[in-house]
């Protein structure tokens, strides 16, 4: 599902964020990517979103080679990849329903599908009751649920989460991770970048540890290893 073959990314200033990384993630897997800040985790996410292009190696996602992807093919690729961030990135002037529906408008889904799919997704993330609330009226955990609903409403094959629990207390962080696990159980490949050690250790998942731009450890059902 996700293949990195000797992928490197060197920024213009000469900083090597990712150095010859080779890794493979299967369809339906749940993977934690952990590491200190500056270890290259965020660069990895940005490469997978094709916000950045690698300076070396080949990235293949869903059978598409990102290196050679044409500019006009990027939108259709991104529709197969959902993404959530630490800072939620919700539209604060629109309510929960509108924030989720926005993702469907953007990919030009017909109105009748939106009316059916948005409530369904809000039920899935446990926010059916709060569909009229504005994001600032919600707790951090609830806001992240809205962001997750927005990321999965178009049924992506892959869900990328960049520090999704970074702004949450342990209780909410756990619930969010549980929700991501549920989404994974329904067949979506999930890749979570985090440095929340306790959380990683509570879920017995594959853990890829990055350090200085390289994969330091890669263990099935592993724990958070201080790299």
């Amino acid at each position: 599902m996700i293949d990195l073959d000797h992928v490197s990314k060197t920024y213009e200033k000469g900083l090597r964020a990712i150095d010859e990384v080779t890794l493979h993630v299967d369809e339906g897997e749940f993977v934690f990517v952990v590491g200190e800040s500056g270890s290259g985790k965020s660069t990895l996410i940005r490469l997978l979103l094709k916000e950045l292009d690698p300076t070396g190696g080949i990235i293949t996602v869903n059978g598409r080679v990102l290196n050679t992807m044409k500019h006009r093919q990027i939108p259709s690729y991104r529709r197969e990849v959902g993404v959530v961030f630490q800072d939620f990135r919700l539209l604060n002037d629109r309510n929960v329903y509108e924030n989720v529906a926005f993702a469907q408008h953007v990919v030009e889904k017909p109105g009748r599908i939106i009316k059916k799919r948005v409530p369904e997704t809000l039920r899935q993330v446990g926010l059916a009751e709060k569909y009229k609330s504005l994001p600032p009226q919600l707790s951090g955990g609830e806001q992240q649920r809205v962001a997750i609903a927005r990321a999965i409403v178009n049924k992506p094959k892959i869900l990328l989460a960049d520090e999704p629990t970074g702004n949450l207390d342990p209780r909410n962080a756990y619930d969010i991770m549980k929700l991501l696990e549920e989404i994974n159980n329904q067949g979506t490949t999930v890749l979570v970048v985090t440095h929340n050690r306790d959380l990683v250790n509570q879920f017995n998942k594959r853990v890829i540890t990055m350090k200085h731009g390289v994969v330091a450890h890669d263990e099935e059902e592993g724990g958070y290893i201080e790299a």
């Binding site: 500019h71 939108p75 926005f102 993702a103 953007v106 990919v107 178009n154």
Partner: protein, 281 residues
């Protein structure tokens, strides 16, 4: 705020364009009418016999470039004069017991093109029995050169205003893009196409352009109508000359589509340039 500024500039731009356009159209219309009407008037030596006058007429008709030769007797000349300049004031005409234009029998000669007029006049002057040849190309030539100069100035002024309008529209769209930067970022990540992200800004540019064109057009329409009406009512004696001026409908027949295209063009150019530069997907 910014959209008000850009609409205002565009309004000024198209308003000035409209004013220049109307003035040019008026001058052109006058020039055309004058060119059509302008003739060479040939007057004869005093007491010249009708026979000789007929012969001169034949000779003039035989010249190159002459399209029309009309004879006006002294009596007709006086009648025309009364009609044209004294209007309904018949008592003014009654003051004259004799025909004050007794020696004014004439030929009016029309020439195909104003450029050929001088050659024709020279030939007529040399004919025997011709006392005087009156030529009125001077006014037409002055108007024409004025028209040329005026066109050149308008083109420069309008070009500068066009550039300013495009820059202001571009600024307005740019502000809109910065305000919605987060939203655009999210749209891109979700998989919005370039066209989907850009369309609202281009539509915004289009709407700004349309408003910026419609506003000055409305003002110009009112102003032109008012001015023409006022000129016609105030200057009764000049009404025959005013008749040369195109009506509001005639001016707007050209001005309306040209201004609308201009407005839409400015709006689209400003927004498309900006969007291409700033909305990278």
């Amino acid at each position: 705020m910014f959209s008000v500024a850009s609409i205002a500039t565009m309004t000024v731009c198209i308003f000035i364009f409209g004013v220049f356009f109307s003035i040019l159209m008026n001058i052109n219309s006058v020039v055309r009418t004058l060119e059509e009407e302008v003739g060479v008037t040939v007057l004869f030596d005093e007491g010249l016999s009708e026979d000789r006058i007929d012969k001169i007429g034949e000779a003039i008709r035989g010249l190159d470039h002459v399209t029309e030769v009309t004879f006006t007797s002294a009596e007709e000349a006086w009648e025309n004069y009364q009609k044209e300049y004294l209007g309904n004031n018949t008592e003014l005409a009654e003051g004259f017991s004799d025909n004050p234009l007794a020696n004014s029998a004439s030929y009016t000669v029309k020439v195909d093109l104003i450029e050929n007029q001088n050659a024709v006049v020279d030939e007529i002057r040399q004919m025997e029995g011709v006392r005087q040849v009156n030529q009125s190309s001077g006014a037409v030539n002055t108007l024409r050169s004025f028209n040329r100069m005026f066109s050149a100035v308008s083109i420069v002024v309008i070009a500068i205003l066009l550039v300013v309008s495009v820059i202001l529209i571009s600024n307005t769209i740019n502000v809109g893009i910065s305000v919605r930067k987060d939203e655009i970022g999210i749209m891109k990540l979700i998989g919005a196409t370039d066209a989907f992200v850009r369309a609202p800004f281009i539509v915004e540019g289009l709407v700004l352009g349309l408003i910026g064109a419609a506003l000055p057009l409305a003002i110009l329409y009112g102003a032109y109508n008012w001015l023409i009406g006022r000129l016609l009512s105030r200057f009764d004696l000049m009404s025959s000359m005013m008749g040369m001026l195109p009506s509001t409908q005639e001016v707007f027949y050209y001005l309306l589509p040209v201004s609308l295209v201009l407005g839409i063009g400015i709006g689209l150019t400003g927004s498309i340039i900006t969007v291409r530069k700033h909305v990278e997907v």
